[in-house]
Amino acid sequence: MERIPVHKGMLCHLIRYSRPDLVGTIERTGQIQSIVVGLGRQGMKHAGLMRDFGTTVTAGIAPDRGGQRIHEIIPVYDSVSECLRENPDIACASIWRHYTTARDAALEIIEAGIPIVVLITEFIPRRDVRDILHAARKRNIVLIGGNTPGIIFPPEGIKIGMLPDVFYPEEPAPRKAGPSGVTVISRSGAILYHMSEGLASAGIAQNAVLGVGGDGVIGSTFRQLVPMAMEYEHTDLVVIAGEIGGSQEELLAQDIQANPAQYPKPMIALISGAHAPEGKTMGHAGAIVSPGQEYGTFQSKKKALEEAGVPVVNSQYDLIRVAKEKLVNKTYFQVSSYYEAMRRKWETPPAKPEWGTIITKIEPNNISISGYRLDEIILNASLLETAHLLVKTELPSDEILLQHNRTAVNAACQPAPDIERIEGEDVSQTLAKCFLSDRALAGFSRSGTDGPVNKTVYALGRFARYLAGILGHENVLDQAGPDTSFTSVIYGALTGERDTDPDRTRLIEAMITASVDHGVTPPSAQATLIAASARSSYEMSVAVGVGAITDVHGGAGSKAAGFFRQCVSKSSAEKIDLETATRLTVEDCMRQGRRIEGLGHRVHTQDPRRDVLWNLSESFGLAGPCVKISKLITGIFHQVRAIHLPINVDGVIGAIVADLGLPEDLAKVLFIFGRVAGLSAHYFEEIASQAPMRSISFAEAVYKGRKDRSFPK
């Protein structure tokens, strides 16, 4: 259903009482931002349900959980003030903390000046509630509760609290909400639902449904909320649902008689407890009928309200009848469309299980990281910028980037761990061992908001060092100082050359960046995620990911480089052109039953990393015969086998590595280098946003990160 603009709704009307300054922002952004305070079972669950209903849930608050994310994308802050520093326009907060901690949570929110505070918690000691009330009154906050199910605004599609989605707004045109209707205000949650559905069954819309809370001492009462609701121009009738105990109903009645001008609209009171036995506590602390009181009984409430001219009912049938009388000639919606909407709800099959990642979106022929296309990233960003983007979802500032460069170079300058290589072991196994034996890396802290990104940067620096060690280039790193660029460190570590050639350097970095991530499904990412889910250390989790990069996953580049070189030497040895040499080589391979590596991809028909790497190598004048072959190979393969197998990123990297005259093995090393950044991001995402030891079904992952955006120039 199309909702009304939020600034025209009742919630914004309530916000205006307390924080008129926020209304402009709400109108401009079309959003009322809210936070969920307390992330126990209920807070977690209802944060998701609120968001699904349409509420803008900007953040969750839970001490000691800052930096995590709930429902995969909602950020968590340690405190309200930290949240407000980054999100100053929060207008609503719901509190889901236990009654022993609810007071402090509420005071913090109120001190922060958030205008609408919904206190869900039940059983808060009265002394604590009085403290909360005192603070709220001082700052003119609209406090709802405690022990409230919350508030819901069907026309805007916003709820703050746990009210189920059973309310229905005015529907002036099919599937389009209008602001008019009845405002329902109740002390009890379930009565609220039953009253609203009673009204809806008679075609009467609710423009707001407010649960004031069932306790004896609460924030806003009928006397405060009824005039506010009546002042809202689109409210036609106010229904209050009161019950035995307390004196709210009597006080409202007094106020109606004393200040009739504040009550310009019709009203109905449903009072429950007509048949409750005296002197028994009925759960709601408020509902104790003490013998001999002139308030608090069904009779005292009924009498007071009737004297104030408010009809009092005690059943759903009577409520519907009297409401219809008060609203003659009003139609808000077709009852059939209400029942149709409700039927859709109860007939919806349970939601398909899914879980979210906000790092990388993988679609056929498109890879994007936090909304930026990977080909643009390869062209414009350094490895460190890309690593920052992977972990933090935004590009770093120049200042931060400088810091990262220093961290990474410093990491590369520390000696590599002493490890033993077993004859013939895969380089990924050697690198995994480095990760696990590295004191410097293990000692580098990952705590704090920037801990994850700093750790990732440090790990990349260490990785350069490991490679230099494995390749025998450690001496090249001796001359690196604080002002050396990490890019040249990478180049030195990989090639052993002291004089960095800018174009070659750039091309190598581009190949590394091209390999950073491919979502959660590659075996390396799966291995890292499973380890992270069991809360293995960072080093262990990344190491198992690296270890999963083998000849079958990520290792094709080296094989491809070898193949291309074979074609080139055939061409020169037999003095035939490249194309013919390649075709003959392919035919040879087919005869021997050997695969051509670097061809085909399970997602992409045109690998999004292909053209950008080809173009870079050509524009730098670094493309040679292997790149040329890599551009022909798909066609040649088709001529031989009649099968269309597009070249993939491994094939392209293999060709470039071969043309650069580097060892073939380096193709795989570059891939692993880049992937360390992606695996780090997946590790940190898992621990920040998922419960430990969940069972991970990789096919159920859904990208929930930033929408597509163009890379800043």
């Binding site: 609460i218 005690n314 059943s315 049938y317």
Partner: protein
């Protein structure tokens, strides 16, 4: 939770308030022999219900013979239906003046309010009605833990307006008022009241009576207080729990019997058990059942219980709610509504089905259940229900749960009652 007078006095003593010397508690007149009584003494019925003074539950006695007679009479009394089980013996004090002092949370403003009156020992509501100027009221919106000295002094001076400038007494009353306030806050009271405060001939200000009602929500942090009065967990107010009320409390939900435990069953009437959802609808569903019974069934429908089945109970908790009602002989049908907000329809239906299956397996009595579920987790609840009905049709044949709000709850209750009467007739015919 309301404290007995002698308990409240202990609490007041702990914050420095003076009380008459507490001699002891007796449960039989013979217990008097174990006490060291100096006469005159007071004998007071220990009850949690008000009105014992009017009923003759407070006596002054001047010697042992009088004491025995008075004790016998008091311990035989029943006040407003509640038998007196113990009496307090305390020193009688000479009385120069009697005041009233009480603190509560004003139900209108929700602020702490202190009230004092120079007319003590009488019904303060009466005074408030007839002679409002005799009462000084002050609210403390800042909810401070201690009272400010000038405020306490203001009350003290107000009380001894007619006494001339008695500084010593003013100081004593100031301490008493400040102590009362302090106890109110420190012990998380809902009511802390002294009526009367007695000014003795010697010029002391003492709490001759004491009333404290504690905030149950805060009992968890009142261990010191509980230790002081020697109880381990909250006590039910006024009356004892019935068997089923205690069973529900042990299972973690609130339940109240609306009928006397062994009330006779009228064969013409339908007795309805209610598993209604939260406390609010728990109260309202009683009204709905009675009203619908009156309007459509000649008043032949009797709700049996109040229940708070909301707040997100566990599956076992839900099962126990139904078990409890099915174990009650008097219940003919159970009507239930799950309007899931915080509570999940999924947990609800699993608990209900578990109850049916358990009873079927054990051969326990099964009472038909008629109701509806709507709200949180409905889709998965519906899937579960449909599968359960396919898999164990016999076990669940007496369970009718409407999925979604296809009809309003009042209609569901009405249909449930119709079904209940049908069952009653078939059963009757079978007999």
């Amino acid at each position: 939770m309301r404290l007995y007078e002698h308990e409240a006095k202990k609490i007041f003593n702990s914050v420095g308030l003076k009380t008459p010397r507490q001699i002891g508690l007796i449960r039989t007149p013979a217990d008097l022999n174990n006490l060291e009584i100096s006469f005159p003494a007071m004998l007071k019925a220990m009850t949690l219900i008000g009105g014992r003074g009017k009923a003759g539950g407070i006596r002054k006695v001047n010697n042992m013979t009088e004491a025995r007679t008075a004790a016998g009479e008091i311990l035989d009394m029943t006040i407003k239906g509640y038998p007196v089980e113990a009496a307090l013996v305390e020193q009688a004090v000479s009385e120069r003046a009697a005041f009233y002092a009480g603190i509560t949370t004003n139900p209108a403003t929700f602020n702490v309010i202190l009230m004092a009156s120079a007319e003590g020992g009488v019904n303060i509501e009466q005074v408030a009605l007839e002679n409002p100027e005799a009462i000084l009221r002050k609210e403390f919106p800042d909810n401070a833990m201690e009272m400010k000295e000038p405020d306490a002094l203001e009350f003290a001076r107000f009380l001894i307006r007619g006494f001339g400038d008695d500084r010593d007494l003013a100081a004593k009353l100031k301490t008493l008022i400040a102590g009362l306030y302090s106890a109110y806050q420190k012990f998380d009271c809902r009511i802390a009241e002294i009526n009367p405060v007695i000014v003795t001939a010697e010029g002391d200000a003492i709490a001759a009576d004491a009333k404290i009602v504690l905030d149950d929500n805060a009992l968890y942090r009142q261990k010191t207080l509980m230790d002081m009065i020697g109880i381990a967990e909250a006590r039910h107010d006024v009356s004892e729990l019935t068997r089923d009320e205690a069973r529900a409390r042990d299972a973690g939900f609130t339940y109240v019997d609306l009928l006397h435990e062994d009330a006779p069953k009228d064969p013409d009437k339908l007795y309805v058990g209610l598993v209604p959802g939260g406390a609010g609808y728990g109260i309202f569903s009683i009204d709905e059942t009675v009203n619908i019974g009156d309007w459509f069934f000649d008043g032949r429908v009797v709700p049996v219980n109040f229940m708070d089945s909301g707040g997100g109970p566990s599956q076992a908790g839900v099962a126990e709610m139904f078990h409890l009602l099915m174990d009650k002989e008097i219940v003919d049908i159970i009507i239930t509504s799950r309007f899931g907000g915080i509570s999940s329809c999924d947990v609800f239906i699993k608990g209900l089905i578990q109850c049916f299956r358990d009873r079927f397996r054990r051969g326990d009595r099964i009472v038909p259940v008629y109701g509806r579920m709507v709200g949180t987790d409905l889709p998965s609840a519906k899937t579960f229900l449909e599968r359960a009905k396919r898999e164990t049709p016999d076990q669940l044949k007496d369970m009718t749960i409407i999925v979604g709000n296809q009809k309003i709850m009042a209609d569901v209750i009405r249909e449930g009652i119709v079904l209940g009467f049908e069952r009653m007739e078939t059963k009757g015919a079978g007999r």
